[in-house]
Structure formats: structure tokens, C-alpha cells
């Protein structure tokens, strides 16, 4: 043991003399661990939230019975089914306002609640009688309690004046949900004897078929292994994971080059150790221990950084997810022990993988240095050929995936293969470029310049690959975001047709507001809208009622239309379909869609397809009057107004005053638009932040590679100095060389990045969100990125070059003295 410690001390002494190398190694490991575990922390947080949401007393994880029109239905059907042997449990759901805060109210029946309802919150024995028996309980998550600004045990009133049962914290519960006994829910929601859905438990025998008991009044909805939220947010998390993975690999590139160099430099030390009587096994064991210890330290620091990254990004992520999918993620980061262990594990595994070649080399090292190393050209050529072959194979995979893949994962697979292939083939491309340069060069110094660049290639290639990937991702993502941003804003302009939007609290107020508005001269038109929910082919679909008004006909953006589409819409037997839904249901203009409505099936001819960016739900747009005919319960609370611009503030103020409406209920177009754009921007804030992180890590990779390379470059540079090239000149040559390979790499990254953008827009977006955007290229942005990359390379190259320029001649002389 003491012997091992002494050997370890000797090995570690190397780092004391090579602090920069040590820093590089640690930075690589930290960077790899930090972003990866940061992203994992965010994903884990989100998944936990989805799980909780999904499992809330039989969410989508449980099979259930619902009415085809998704309305509530009489509780008598529940009793009828129970008495026919169906193991069902009733749930009533609705929204209520508590202290001005809108929350979901869930009424459950704990005695029949299926025992295998997901990981639903558990009711303790004593709690259960407390929950059922008067006054009952309102189960609530801690964060919701805080949101409502209430204390546990309080019984706050809801907007109708009725009081909730005393609040009782159930820690596992999802936010923004209050759970009460079904009887209490019926009273609070004023839906006596009504039920929203029936959860299906394990049957005791073979109950009679559903239709023989309730006819077609209820239909079965199978459980989803994956929740709606998970499905919707998959792409988002895949996106995060991809970034995490990318920076993990870039980090490992750094580790690989640092470890490679350190081991190379320590080979004589290892020989001496062996000559002085440390056995091969001892030395090798200690080498591995050293690596693990370093990985452990770096892993811990990386985890701490990862935690901060996650904590810093989480508000944006939560905002994105809420804006995009309506998913509620707690803003407070809660991490499980698994996360820490996984982080440390990935750090150690990564370090070992990155150091594998060096370790094997050290382990196989004969105690006597005998064999001459093969010429570098020969080695490099073989390596380049192998790598290029691998690149071709990976490209082939990308093509196959592109052709045959249908899923989102396949889309990301195409992206990953594309980038991996490009990274692998990069050194070969650079080699060819440099070779061409060398062939065409006339002057000896120029020839040396090209030849030496080629020799440097193997040392730099990993860093350049990292730079290529980071740049390509940057180009791809910024192009996608920019495209989306422009499309979105243009679309928003058309979509927000009215000047002022009013949302009444109920139908009565809606009527009152409309009557009041009719009397006003500053209102040019009153456009009533409405929304209803239905299930089409098992999917929740939103029905949007559009008023028949010239403004809509002129401005509402449609992607595809049948002739006279707007005219066809008016009678009520035609609809526009949102792009997402048309893809999901595979419906085109000219097809017919059947919507179950309370009064019977509503057949709708599809006469148009419209973009509906940012809406996770599928949507059908129909005439509002027709919507109300088919869905009489549709709340008529949404009103759009056409008002001259100068009259808007006055009208809004009057509405506020007359109907005590708050800011959420009345808004002008500009406010709505600003809010939408704000949500949109936050959505991509995370992407931008990760983008910057990744580019930063690639910059570090380049810097560290150049720094480590600089030390081994002296023997190559000393002869040039000896034949009369000044140090500043040498430094200038070095700088030019670095910048030229970086430039080549950046230029290669542009087409690759555009390809990535195309993949994102044409494959990933379509699969993930259901919308396809027009593809735009933004040359200015590209130029900017290349400039940034060159600037980063310049910074990275400057330090070693400056050192060279300032190097004492004795150091260069020493090269000759040490030559042996």
C-alpha cells in the first residue's frame, strides 16, 4: 500500500510540473460531466413532473371510459357498470378559482379507485376516513399551497363562494391540482351526479360488453404507456440530451488529447519507475487509480457545475415547456441520489474511455525502449483511411435512416450520423486540402508550411472535429430558430386578426359585454369565437369557432385551401384543419372527418390546412355558429373586437371599469403578440444557452489541443530558427497555420450546419411538432458564426504563439542539446 502511494506520488508529481496539462485534463472532464449531468438533471426533473401528472389518480396511465363528446355524464352510468361487474371508479374534473388562481379540481372516489393506478399519491389509513368523512380534505401539493398563499388546514372559498374542505398537503401530488372526494367535487363544480370519466381497474370476472350496458354513451380509452406530455415533450428533451451528449464528447476529446500527451511525456518516468523496482502491475494499477481519482474529483466539480447549469436553465426550460406544451415543471431543482452516482459514473467511464489508448500503451510498454516508432506519415495515412471508411459507413446509415426511418428518434439518428460522419471525414478532407497546398507551393518555406500543417493534423484533428461539430450544430440550430422566428412572427400577424380580445368569465357576462359593446360607436365589429373539445380517432381535438368576417378571410393564414374555402366554411359542414392534426390523422384537403358531437356525429369536409404553431393539441377551425349548434355547451365568452388604433386604450379602460375585467381577460393585439413572442423567445433561450456552452467547450478543446501541441512543436521549429527565421516570423507562421485549418473547418461546418438545419426543419420538427417550416438561409448569420469561430481559434492559438514569440533562444538551443 505504501509502495503504491509512493508510486502515485511520483506519477502525480508530473502534474505539478505541467499545470496547464493538468488543468486541461480537469477542464475536459468537468466540461464533459457538467453539461451532460446538467441536462440530465433537467430531463429528470421534467420526467418526474410528467410522471406525477400522468399518475394523478388515474391519468392516462389507466384505461378509462369517457363520453364520446368528452362531456360529463350521469353518475348513474357508473352504478350501472359497477352492478354489471365493471370495476370502474368515477372521477370528476373541472377548474375552479381559488384566491384568483385557476386550478384543476379532481374529484375521486377512494374506495373504488383501482389499486394499481400508476404511482398515484397514497392515502394513509387514517387519511382515508378523514378524506371521505365530513368535512373531508382537499389534497394539495406543497408548491400549489404556496401559490394559493394558503396554510395547511385552511378552507379557502372558491370563486362561487363555496368553501373547499380543509387543505391537506400530499407531497407527491402534481402542482396546480386540488384533489377532493367526488361528492365534494360535484358540489363545488355544481355538477350534481355528474362524472367526467371512469377509471377501469382489474375485473373480477368477465363483465358484459360495454355496449350492452351503456350503449354508445361511453367509450373505452386505452392507457398510454407514454403520456401525452411525454410524447409531446420528447423532442424537446431529445434536443437537450443531444446537446448534453455533444458536449460530453467534446469534453472527452479534450481529455483524450490531454491524457495522450501526459502519458507520452511520462513514458520515460514509467520506465525509470520499473527500473527502480516498481512492478508492471503496480505501476499500471496506480495509473488506473490516478485516473479514477482525477475523474472522481473532476466529476464532483462537474456535477456541481452541472447543478448550477441546470438550476440556471430550469426557469427557461420550465417556461418553454409550459409555453409549448402546457407542462408544469417545478422550478425548484430536486435531484435524486441516482443523479449524483450517474454523474460520477459517467465521469469515470468517460475518463477511462478517453484514456483507454494511452493506458493500453502504458500497460503494454516494455521496460526497455527498443522498437523504433513507425514514421508518422505511415501511421497517419492508415488512420485517415480507416476513419474515412468509418465515415462512409456512418453516412450510409444516415441515408438508410433518412429513407426508412419514420420516428423522431430516426430523425435524430440521421442528425447524429450526419455529424459523426462529417467529424470522422474531416481530417481526411483537411489532409487532401493541405496536400494540394503542398503540391502547389513553390517556395521552400511555403512547402514546409503545408507539410508541417499536415504533420500537425493528427494532433489537432480531435479539436478540429469538436469545432466542426459545435459549429455545425450552431449553424443548424440558429438557422432553424431564425427560420421559425420569422415564420412565427409572420404567422402571428395574420392570426391575430382582431384588435382587442375579451374573455368573459361566463356566458351571462359574455352576453352583457356584447350588448354593452353594441352600444359603443368606437367598436367597428364584434367577432365572437368559441372553443370546444372533442375526441377524433382517440385523440383530443380542439374545435375553434371562427366568425364569418372579411378580416379573417383576408388575413387568417392558410397553407393549403380548396376553392372558395371561406365560403364553404359558413354553412357549417366544412372545416380547416391544423397542420399538426392533418399529419397525425393523415388528412388532406378534400377528405372528410367525423367529429363526435353531443347531438350526433358531425361530418366535416376539410377545405383548408392552416399552421398552428406552438399548439400541442390538434385543432379544427369551423364556423362559430355551426360550432355552437353542434356543441351547445360551448362557452360564448371569447370576443374579438375591431377597433381603430387610437380608440383601443379608451375602450380597454372602459371594459375594465364596466365589467371589472382584469388584464388576463382583456388585451389588445400588441399585448397578445408581445406575450406570444416572449414565450417564443424563452422557448429558444435554452437552446441558445446550450449552443453557446457547446461552442465554448469546443473553443476550450481547440485551445488545449494547441497548448499541448505547442510544447511538442519545439523540435520542429528549432531547426527553422537555426537557419535564420526569426521568432516573430515563426510565430506568425504558426498562427497562420492554425487559423487556416480553423478556417477550413469553419467553412466545412457551414454546409454541414445547413444540412443539420434542413434535418431539424424537415424531419425533426415535422415529427416532433407536426409542422414544417419554409427553409431559409441567412448568409449574414453564417458569416457571423464563421467569424466567431475564427476569433475563438485566434484566441486559442494566440497564447501558445505568444509564448513562442517570446521564447528565450536558450530553449530553442536546448532542443539540439537534448537531441539524442
Amino acid at each position: 500500500m505504501r509502495r503504491a502511494l509512493w508510486v502515485l506520488a511520483v506519477l502525480l508529481s508530473h502534474w505539478r510540473r505541467h499545470k496547464m496539462q493538468f488543468a486541461t485534463l480537469l477542464i475536459g472532464l468537468i466540461a464533459a460531466t457538467a453539461l451532460w449531468s446538467g441536462v440530465q438533471a433537467i430531463n429528470q426533473q421534467a420526467r418526474n413532473a410528467y410522471d406525477r401528472a400522468a399518475a394523478t389518480f388515474g391519468g392516462v396511465r389507466t384505461a378509462m371510459l369517457v363520453a364520446p363528446d368528452t362531456a360529463t355524464f350521469p353518475q348513474e352510468l357508473f352504478v350501472r357498470l359497477r352492478r354489471a361487474g365493471w370495476p370502474v371508479s368515477p372521477v370528476l374534473e373541472g377548474r375552479i378559482q381559488v384566491n384568483g388562481h385557476s386550478v384543476r379540481l379532481l374529484g375521486i372516489e377512494p374506495i373504488t379507485l383501482p389499486a394499481d393506478v400508476g404511482n398515484a399519491p397514497r392515502l394513509g389509513a387514517s387519511d382515508l376516513s378523514g378524506f371521505v368523512a365530513p368535512p373531508g380534505q382537499t389534497l394539495v401539493a406543497q408548491e400549489t399551497l404556496a401559490d394559493l398563499q394558503e396554510q395547511e388546514g385552511a378552507a379557502p372559498p372558491i370563486s362561487s363562494g363555496a368553501k373547499l374542505p380543509p387543505l391537506h398537503v400530499l407531497p407527491q401530488l402534481v402542482p396546480d391540482v386540488l384533489v377532493v372526494d367526488i361528492g365534494v367535487a360535484q358540489r363545488l363544480l355544481n355538477k350534481p351526479d355528474q362524472v367526467s370519466r371512469l377509471l377501469i381497474g382489474k375485473p373480477k370476472g368477465k363483465p358484459a360488453p360495454l355496449a350492452s350496458i351503456v350503449g354508445d354513451r361511453l367509450q373505452r380509452v386505452e392507457p398510454n404507456a407514454e403520456t401525452e406530455l411525454e410524447r409531446l415533450t420528447d423532442s424537446f428533451h431529445l434536443n437537450l440530451t443531444a446537446f448534453g451528449l455533444l458536449s460530453f464528447f467534446v469534453g472527452l476529446f479534450i481529455v483524450n488529447s490531454a491524457v495522450g500527451l501526459a502519458f507520452e511525456q511520462r513514458l520515460p518516468m514509467l520506465r525509470t519507475l520499473r527500473a527502480c523496482g516498481a512492478s508492471a502491475r503496480l505501476v499500471n494499477t496506480v495509473l488506473v487509480i490516478e485516473l479514477v481519482v482525477l475523474a472522481l474529483i473532476a466529476g464532483l466539480i462537474g456535477l456541481a457545475c452541472g447543478y448550477f447549469i441546470a438550476a440556471a436553465l430550469l426557469p427557461d426550460v420550465a417556461a418553454s415547456l409550459r409555453g409549448l406544451y402546457g407542462a408544469q415543471i417545478p422550478g425548484q431543482l430536486a435531484l435524486r441520489p441516482e443523479w449524483w452516482l450517474a454523474g460520477i459514473g459517467i465521469s469515470i467511464a468517460g475518463a477511462i474511455v478517453a484514456a483507454a489508448t494511452s493506458l493500453i500503451k502504458a500497460i503494454r510498454m516494455p521496460v526497455l525502449a527498443t522498437a523504433q516508432p513507425r514514421a508518422w506519415q505511415q501511421r497517419q495515412r492508415r488512420w485517415l483511411i480507416l476513419q474515412s471508411l468509418a465515415a462512409c459507413a456512418v453516412f450510409a446509415v444516415a441515408l438508410l435512416l433518412l429513407h426508412y426511418g419514420v420516428s423522431l428518434i430516426a430523425g435524430f439518428g440521421v442528425l447524429a450520423a450526419l455529424m459523426l460522419g462529417a467529424a470522422l471525414i474531416l481530417p481526411a478532407l483537411l489532409e487532401i486540402l493541405l496536400l494540394v497546398g503542398q503540391r502547389t507551393a513553390r517556395k521552400p518555406l511555403a512547402q514546409w508550411f503545408w507539410a508541417d500543417s499536415r504533420q500537425q493534423l493528427s494532433g489537432l484533428s480531435l479539436a478540429l472535429m469538436a469545432l466542426l461539430l459545435a459549429l455545425a450544430v450552431n449553424v443548424g440550430v440558429s438557422t432553424m430558430v431564425e427560420t421559425f422566428s420569422r415564420t412565427f412572427i409572420g404567422w402571428l400577424d395574420g392570426r391575430l386578426a382582431a384588435d382587442v380580445y375579451v374573455s368573459a368569465s361566463d356566458n351571462a357576462q359574455g352576453v352583457a359585454i356584447r350588448n354593452w359593446l353594441k352600444e359603443r360607436s368606437d367598436v367597428q365589429a364584434i367577432l365572437s369565437g368559441g372553443r370546444a373539445e372533442a375526441q377524433v380517432e382517440g385523440q383530443p381535438v380542439e374545435l375553434l369557432g371562427l366568425p364569418d368576417h372579411a378580416l379573417y378571410r383576408e388575413r387568417w393564414p392558410l397553407l393549403e385551401t380548396a376553392p372558395r374555402a371561406w365560403t364553404q366554411l359558413v354553412p357549417g359542414n366544412a372545416a380547416f384543419i391544423s397542420e399538426q392534426l392533418s399529419r397525425r390523422l393523415n388528412v388532406r384537403v378534400g377528405d372528410v372527418i367525423e367529429v363526435p358531437a353531443p347531438g350526433g356525429t358531425w361530418e366535416l369536409d376539410i377545405v383548408g390546412i392552416y399552421a398552428d404553431y406552438g399548439n400541442p393539441k390538434g385543432q379544427l377551425a369551423v364556423n362559430v355558429a355551426a360550432l355552437i349548434r353542434h356543441f351547445p355547451q360551448t362557452p360564448q365568452t371569447r370576443i374579438g373586437l375591431i377597433v381603430a388604433k387610437e380608440n383601443i386604450p379608451g375602450l380597454i379602460a372602459a371594459l375594465h371599469k364596466q365589467f371589472a375585467l382584469d388584464d388576463r381577460s382583456v388585451a389588445d393585439q400588441a399585448t397578445v403578440k408581445a406575450e406570444s413572442i416572449r414565450i417564443f423567445n424563452r422557448t429558444f433561450a435554452v437552446t441558445s444557452a446550450l449552443n453557446a456552452f457547446t461552442l465554448g467547450v469546443a473553443g476550450i478543446a481547440l485551445l488545449t489541443s494547441l497548448l499541448t501541441l505547442a510544447n511538442s512543436r519545439l523540435p520542429q521549429l528549432a531547426p527553422l530558427w537555426a537557419i535564420g527565421i526569426t521568432r516573430p516570423r515563426l510565430a506568425a507562421i504558426e498562427l497562420t497555420k492554425t487559423l487556416s485549418v480553423a478556417l477550413f473547418t469553419s467553412l466545412l461546418a457551414v454546409p454541414l450546419g445547413l444540412l443539420v438545419a434542413w434535418c431539424l426543419i424537415a424531419i425533426v420538427n415535422v415529427k416532433a411538432f407536426g409542422w414544417r417550416l419554409p427553409f431559409h438561409v441567412f448568409p449574414l448569420q453564417l458569416a457571423e458564426l464563421v467569424a466567431v469561430a475564427l476569433f475563438a481559434s485566434l484566441l486559442a492559438a494566440l497564447l501558445p504563439v505568444a509564448r513562442l514569440a517570446r521564447m528565450q533562444p536558450t530553449n530553442l538551443v536546448k532542443v539540439f542539446a537534448d537531441e539524442r
Binding site: 352504478v79 352492478r83 372516489e109
Partner: protein, 360 residues
């Protein structure tokens, strides 16, 4: 088993412990020692009226409709079944409407053969119709388990009725006929459970003839035999120091019936009580200090020692028999667990019956 399930069982067990007063007490459930505040009291001298008393008595805390049947299948093999509906009020007072109703219902069903014992349970809240009992026509149900009369059902005989229940791996469907009225147990239907006044109202229909189909593992067989229903309600039937029951319902030769139970006390004493019912339906309490009930052999079920064979001596009636279980492992592993199964007996008399034991 999930904690959630346990908790529900415990909750249900709470109901069961109260509802099972006849069978329970052993677990020392707090409800047993509670006074009957707010609930109606059981007093001697009640005049029973039928069919009204076949229905629920929600002003009392607990009540049950408890049916057991000794059957023989087409091959002559003996089997038995149980169908039970328990009611418990969580709070006294006027009956609230809908979900606010304070009644909770529990059903137990079981099938026993020499080689197997299957059981299941069901829970429901009152007030919404998922479980309940009506009198005209008679119906007692929880989910799809039911005991159901018709226009032909006699007010006094509570027959004919049909009976059905199903579990995951068994089901049965029977028709029950009876040519004699129900029989009052105890002293004219007043069944005293302790010296301190704990008591219940108690009557039985021991003369049912049963016929129907019994299905185990999807294999239906025709069965026929005798059945016995107990009806009992109370607000506080057990004394605090009473730990459990050993309860016999025996079909003696010549259509005589014997209901016999022993209330075990913490101090080791056990009151032996019962009624002897003649073929013409006359019922008399058996009161004799020489009467004895002696366990002969025990069966180990999950660490519990259950006395599954007994010697019964009623010298005044000239009865000296030994009982043997059809299946010694007739354990009801429900939320509130107990032993209940068909038995046969021999000695001075030969016949069949049902045995139920709680508190072990």
C-alpha cells in the same frame, strides 16, 4: 402489495372490524369498545316485522346479510359457498343523500372445495346505488353480487331468491327455496352477547334448499344442497374484553338445526350460546352449564394456529359430535381475515354445516 392497497384494506378493515362484530373483536378494534352514542340501542322485546326487517336499519351502526351453503356437485363431491353483505354507518344521524351518505358497504364471497378455497371482496359507499338492500321486492347487492327476490318472494320465508357472485377465478349462481318462515334467534330475536348488555337483533333462515351452478377456473358444475342465512344488526354487539368467535351453523338429521357459538374472552373464559331449532321452526336457547365445545386439532395458516376440528357436547340434548372441516385451509384472506368453511360432523348425530372462527 402497494401501500395504497394496504391502506385501503386497513380502511376497509376498519369497516370490517365493526361490521364483523359477530366474527371480530379479536383485533381489539377501538370501535368495539365505543359506546353506541348517537346510534339506536338494541333492547329486548322487539316485535319483528317482515319484509321490513329484511331491509337495512341505518340507525344501527352495523348490519349483515350472511349466507352459507353446503352443497354437493353432480359427482357427489361436497362443496360450500359464502355470500355476505356488510353495512356500516360511519356516523350516526339522518341519512345524507348521494356521496355524502354515511353508509359503507362491504361484500365477501367464497367457494370452498376439499382441494381449493377461493374468495373475493367488494367495497362501496352508500347513497348512490352501488350497494344496498331493498325489501319489496327483496334485493341485496354490491356491484354485480346480488341476492335477489321477485314478486313471488314470501315476506316470511324470504324465498325464493337468487344468489350470485364472482371473483377473478370463481363464480356461482344459485336459486334458494324455503317452505318455512325465518326463525328468531336468541330470546325472540334478542341475542345477548355479554352480561353488560351488548346485544344484537338476530334472525335466520336455516331451511333454504339451494340449486344452481358453481364455476371454478372456468369449469361450471351443477350443485345442490342446503343453505342458511343469518340476519343481524346492532350498534355495539361486543364487549371490550371479548377476543373472538367460534360459530357453528349445523344441519342436523330430521331437518333440525343448531346455531351454536362461543365468545372467547381475554381471561380465557368462553360463553357458549346457541339455539336449537326444530323442523317446525320453533327455536329455543340452549342453556346448560354442562354444554361444552372443545378444540381437537389445529391447522397452521400463515403462522396462525386455527382449531379446525371440534368436539361438541350438549348433554341435555343428547348431542355428542366431532366436526371435521371439508378444507382445513378455508382462510378468508380478505382485508379483515378469518376462517370460514363447510364442515361435516359425526357421533350422536351426523350431518353438515358451516364453521366460522375469528380472532386467531
Amino acid at each position: 402489495m402497494s401501500a395504497e392497497r394496504i391502506s385501503r384494506r386497513m380502511f376497509a378493515g376498519g369497516i370490517a372490524a365493526l361490521a364483523l362484530a359477530r366474527r371480530a373483536g379479536a383485533q381489539g378494534y377501538a370501535g368495539l369498545g365505543e359506546t353506541a352514542d348517537g346510534f339506536a340501542k338494541v333492547l329486548p322485546g322487539k316485535a319483528f316485522t317482515f319484509p321490513a326487517d329484511h331491509g337495512p336499519h341505518p340507525e344501527f351502526r352495523i348490519e349483515w346479510w350472511y349466507l352459507t351453503a353446503n352443497l354437493v356437485d353432480a359427482n357427489g363431491a361436497a362443496c360450500g359457498l359464502q355470500w355476505t353483505l356488510f353495512r356500516q354507518a360511519t356516523q350516526p344521524g339522518p341519512q345524507a343523500e348521494g356521496w355524502a351518505n354515511q353508509q359503507v358497504w362491504m361484500g365477501h364471497a367464497a367457494v370452498t372445495r376439499a382441494d381449493t378455497h377461493r374468495f373475493n371482496e367488494a367495497f362501496s359507499r352508500g347513497g348512490i346505488g352501488q350497494a344496498g338492500v331493498t325489501t319489496k321486492p327483496f334485493a341485496a347487492w354490491i356491484d354485480d353480487w346480488e341476492m335477489k327476490g321477485s314478486e313471488r318472494t314470501g315476506d316470511l320465508t324470504l324465498a325464493p331468491v337468487t344468489l350470485k357472485a364472482s371473483g377473478t377465478d370463481f363464480s356461482y349462481s344459485l336459486t334458494l327455496e324455503a317452505d318455512r318462515p325465518v326463525v328468531l334467534q336468541g330470546d325472540g330475536g334478542y341475542s345477548r352477547k355479554s352480561e353488560r348488555g351488548q346485544a344484537s337483533y338476530y334472525y335466520s333462515q336455516p331451511f333454504y334448499r339451494a340449486r344452481g351452478t358453481l364455476t371454478v377456473d372456468d369449469k361450471p358444475v351443477d350443485v345442490s344442497g342446503q343453505a342458511w342465512m343469518d340476519r343481524e344488526w346492532s350498534s355495539q354487539p361486543l364487549d371490550a374484553d371479548q377476543t373472538g368467535w367460534d360459530w357453528f351453523s349445523l344441519h342436523l338429521p330430521g331437518d333440525e338445526k343448531l346455531m351454536l357459538y362461543r365468545l372467547r374472552q381475554k381471561d380465557g373464559r368462553a360463553n357458549l350460546l346457541g339455539n336449537w331449532i326444530t323442523p317446525d321452526g320453533r327455536s329455543a336457547e340452549i342453556k346448560d352449564a354442562r354444554n361444552s365445545l372443545t378444540p381437537l386439532a389445529t391447522t397452521d395458516i400463515g403462522g396462525r394456529k386455527i382449531p379446525t376440528s371440534w368436539r361438541v357436547n350438549l348433554p341435555a340434548r343428547g348431542l355428542a359430535i366431532e366436526t371435521t372441516p371439508l378444507n382445513p385451509r378455508s382462510w378468508m384472506g380478505t382485508g379483515f381475515s378469518y376462517w370460514e368453511g363447510p364442515i361435516s360432523f359425526a357421533g350422536s348425530h351426523t350431518g353438515i354445516g358451516y364453521l366460522e372462527m375469528t380472532g386467531y
